[in-house]
Every structure is written in structure tokens, then in C-alpha cells.
């Protein structure tokens, strides 16, 4: 307190806390309230929202489109993040370190590029890649006319998200593997342990924490990712309509704000569960 003075300290903290309160705390609380209203952007329920209690929630839970969306989201997150980004990121981190300098730099650079480019741009790049007629993929595979986004919408967004997000896992696992002391690896090799054994006995115990951290973070991000909408628009026939897309289409496009809020709240709760896991982990490692 010395020097700064309590008054000034408060002054320093207030702008940040005010913005956080206005745009994080308040929306979260408001979602809670909006979720129990029948509240539309236009029409009779716009002027005078109607209290419907848990109506929105029961509507959601009985809506097959909601169930479909939950299942799609599970598949999307599980396949693209937990398995895809995680596995590919680890493989890249573990193998590229043994490749010669320029190969490593080149592959690393490309993986990173796919991560840092703006979402709108990469979405268009993928549209060009997958286009029915002139798409590069069809040209390469000699499958003219194959409509990947229409025939395999889920696979499309899964592969796209692996491509898009693997860089983070790769960087994290690289850092984690760098921290495994060479002396441990050498000791294992001295005793004649093969690569798989070495991995299990020496590497895995050291990076277990990183694996958990990485999985939780990419799960959280992928779960909230809106990019699938930009690629497939949720279609065709809701076949790539993950929860964020579902919320967007119901509330912003469809104007059902109350109903959208109810779904948002469900998303918030899922986020909370993932984040709590993650924070527990952070704190345990920090303390």
C-alpha cells in the first residue's frame, strides 16, 4: 500500500474491473435471467417478454435439433481436439526434433501459419481447397464434383479444426519435451530401453501435467469455436450445427433471444466445468 495509497490503487483497478463487470459478469448473469423468458427480437414478445420459467430449458431438452447439436459438438470436440490436435501436436513435437534443421523449420512454420492466419482467410482457403468444381483436393484426388462440405460436413470441420489448431499442442508439447532432462533419456538408453519403453517410463510421467493442461484448453476453445459456422453454415440439414452455431442461428438469426439464452447458459455451465478442472490443475502446479 506504501507509495501507491489505497485511493490511487482503487483508481488503478476500477477501469479494468468495470469493463470486466460490464462485459463478462453482467452478460453471464443476464443470461440466467433471459433464459427464463420468452423473449424475441421482433414480434409481440419483443416489447413484453413473458416469463416462462424453465420452459426454454424443457423446450431445448426435447428439441431433437438440440440433441443433435450436443452430439455433433461432442464428436467435433472429441475427434478434432482431444484426439486430433492433441495426437498430431504431440507427434509433430516428438518427431520433428529429430529431423534436420530446414525440414523442422519448414513444417513448424507451416503449422504455425495455419494457426495465426485470420479465421476468415483460412475459411476461404478451405473453401477453395474443397470446392466441388475447381477445388485443389478434387484435382489432386481426381474426384471431380465431390462435394466434401455437403457430403461429409462433420468430417470437414473436424479435419479443418485439426489443421487450424494443432500448432498450440505442438508448441506446448515441444516446450514440455524440452524440459525432459537429456540425462534421463540417456540413462534409459544406456539400460537398453527401446523408444516406446523410454516414452512410457521416462517421458510420460514428466509431461502428464502438460497433457492434461493441453487437453482442457483445446477442449474449451474448440467447444466455443464459431469457425465451423463460417465453413459450413451449420448445414446441410444441421449436420454440422455445433452448439455455438445452434445458439447463433436460434437467437441472432431466428431472434429467439430467451431460448438462445437458455442454450447459452448450458454452454456457460459446460465451460465452467472444464475451466474449474483447469484452474485446479494450475493451482496445484503453482502451489
Amino acid at each position: 500500500m506504501a507509495g501507491l495509497g489505497t485511493g490511487r490503487a482503487v483508481l488503478f483497478v476500477v477501469p479494468a474491473l468495470a469493463l470486466i463487470a460490464a462485459f463478462l459478469v453482467f452478460p453471464a448473469l443476464w443470461t440466467l435471467y433471459l433464459g427464463v423468458l420468452k423473449y424475441d427480437l421482433a414480434g409481440s414478445n419483443a416489447a413484453a417478454p413473458q416469463f416462462v420459467g424453465l420452459g426454454n430449458y424443457t423446450d431445448a431438452l426435447t428439441d431433437p435439433r438440440f440433441a443433435n447439436s450436443v452430439l455433433l459438438t461432442l464428436a467435433f470436440v472429441g475427434l478434432s481436439a482431444v484426439l486430433g490436435q492433441n495426437g498430431l501436436g504431440f507427434l509433430l513435437a516428438a518427431t520433428l526434433r529429430r529431423a534436420v534443421g530446414w525440414v523442422r523449420m519448414l513444417v513448424n512454420g507451416l503449422v504455425l501459419l495455419s494457426w495465426i492466419l485470420p479465421g476468415t482467410v483460412v475459411v476461404f482457403l478451405w473453401q477453395a481447397l474443397l470446392d466441388r468444381n475447381g477445388g485443389t483436393l478434387n484435382a489432386l484426388l481426381d474426384t471431380p464434383g465431390a462435394a466434401w462440405t455437403l457430403d461429409h460436413p462433420l468430417a470437414t470441420i473436424v479435419v479443418f479444426n485439426i489443421w487450424r489448431g494443432t500448432a498450440f499442442s505442438m508448441l506446448l508439447y515441444s516446450a514440455a519435451l524440452d524440459a525432459v532432462p537429456t540425462s534421463h533419456l540417456e540413462t534409459a538408453r544406456l539400460y537398453g530401453s527401446g523408444p516406446l519403453r523410454t516414452f512410457r517410463d521416462v517421458v510420460l510421467p514428466r509431461i502428464r501435467g502438460h497433457i492434461l493442461t493441453n487437453t482442457l484448453l483445446i477442449t474449451l476453445w474448440t467447444f466455443n469455436d464459431f469457425t465451423p459456422y463460417m465453413l459450413t453454415g451449420g448445414g446441410p440439414e444441421h449436420r454440422s450445427e455445433t452448439l455455438p452455431v445452434y445458439v447463433y442461428r436460434m437467437s441472432i438469426e431466428g431472434g429467439q433471444l430467451g431460448f438462445g439464452s437458455a442454450i447459452s447458459l448450458i454452454m456457460l455451465v459446460i465451460n465452467l466445468v472444464i475451466a474449474l478442472f483447469y484452474l485446479r490443475l494450475l493451482r496445484r502446479r503453482g502451489g
Binding site: A16, R98, L106, G119, L276, L279
Partner: protein, 293 residues
Amino acid sequence: MSEPQRVDPGNRAVRRILGDAVVRHALSRIGLYVFAGVMLVFFALPLLWLVLTPFSRTPAYQITAPSFTLHNFRVLLDNPFALRSIGNSLILAGGTAVLAVVFAGTAAYALSRVRLPGRDALLYAILLLSSIVTGTAAMVPIFLMLFQLNMIDNRLALVLVLTGGLLPSAMFILKDFMDSVPKSYEESARVFGASPLQILRHVVAPVVRPGLATIAVWAIVQVWGNFLLPYILLHDQNKQPAAVIMYTFYDEGGTPNFALISTFSLLYSVPVVVAYLIVNRRYGFRFQGGIKG
């Protein structure tokens, strides 16, 4: 690679093991480069379009053999919305970066210096909050709030929304930086008569500059690529940033204007790549869990 010199080559058992090791080694090298090659193709393939099409005489979905032209950039310059949207992106990203650095910086400084009961719990709580109240999960209330306040199409409002989302992580990261500044620096300046603001400007900010720069670049990259929030909060095409405006580069039939989109994509992508290279060169990749979110 160094074992062969270490063992006695006269020993037959050793020679056999060595032979096996060489074969295994060769196989694993081959496997490694096959994998690297596949990855190279997988990650490079979508990017080809971005580097080739802007210079193609016949821009389309199809990647064409190089037929160099700069004509497409003429199309880009002639489009009234393209350059303006880049400017809008700059305003949004710059404004958010400035606010995030200033507000997170002052708040982190105060929190680092003042002993408040429950301070760490507060920090964890807002960090938790920022990871759960994502743009996607909070789009309805945020949209509705600005809609009712008549602030749709208000860029300052959008900047504030974006800043609010970035502040918790920024504060969390900056507090670590602030904590690492020795107290004696500030006390020394204080004895010479420096005011708290002077201390912040002359001493603390320069010492934690790497942290501030990290936050600034991170904020710029986050906002630069953000689609959802500007998409739902800015409807006036004159105010929309690059991320959103690309969706207007189609003709009435829904065919993309390839000349425009390809060159625009390139122009729009270059700043983030440059920013990344700068940060990577100057500070290395500081691994901060949650920095991209």
C-alpha cells in the same frame, strides 16, 4: 550416432546389436521423413491458394500455374470497402490493444503492490470468468445489451466489449511481470520525489515492457482475427473490419470476386504474420497457457 565409436568393434555380439541398431535407425529416419512429408503436404496444401492466386491472371477456386500479374491488386485498390475495412481492423485492434495494456497494466500494478485479502482469489475468479464467458457463449446478452443501448454500429462500444474479454488474462499475465519488479526501484524513485504516475511511467512500465508488448501484440492478433463480435455488433459496411467485410466480396449470384478476395486475404494476413515474427524474434515464444483463446 556416437555409440559406434564407443564400443569395441571386435566383439561379435556388439557388432550384431550394432547392426540391428543401424537398421532400426535407418527405418526410423525413413519413417520420420515420410511423416514430415505428409505433414508438409497437409499443412501447405490449403495455403497454396493464398500465395498463388493473388498473382494469377485467372483467379478462381482453382489454383493455376503461375502466370504473374499485379492486376488483382488494382481491383483491390479500386474497391472502396477493402482498404477501409483494413483501417477499421486497425482501429479496433489498436484501440483494444491500447485499452487492454493501459487498464490491465494499471490494475496488475495496483494488485501486485497492494495487499488485499482475497486478491489472488479475485484474480483466479476473473480468469475463470473470462474462460467461461466466451464470445460464443455470451453473444446473446452482449448483442442484446448493445442493441438496447442503441450501440449497434458503435465502434467504441465494440472495443470496450473486446477489451473486457481480454482483460482477465492480460491482468493475470501482467501481474506476474509486475511482481518481478524489485520494490527498491520504486522506493528509490519515491525518495527522489517521483509521484506514483511518474514511477509507473519512468520505472515500472519500461521494466515490464516485454510484458506490455506481449499483451499488446496478443490483443492485436486476437481482435484482428475476431469474426463473431464485429459480425453481430457492426452492421454498417463502412465500419466493418476485414474479418467481416470479406463476406461482401461476392456478386449477386453468390460467386466470389476472386481477384478481390485473394489479394485482400494476402493483405489482411500479412500483419499478423509480421507481428508473430517480431514477437517470436524479440521475446521468443513465451509459453503462457491460455494466451490464445
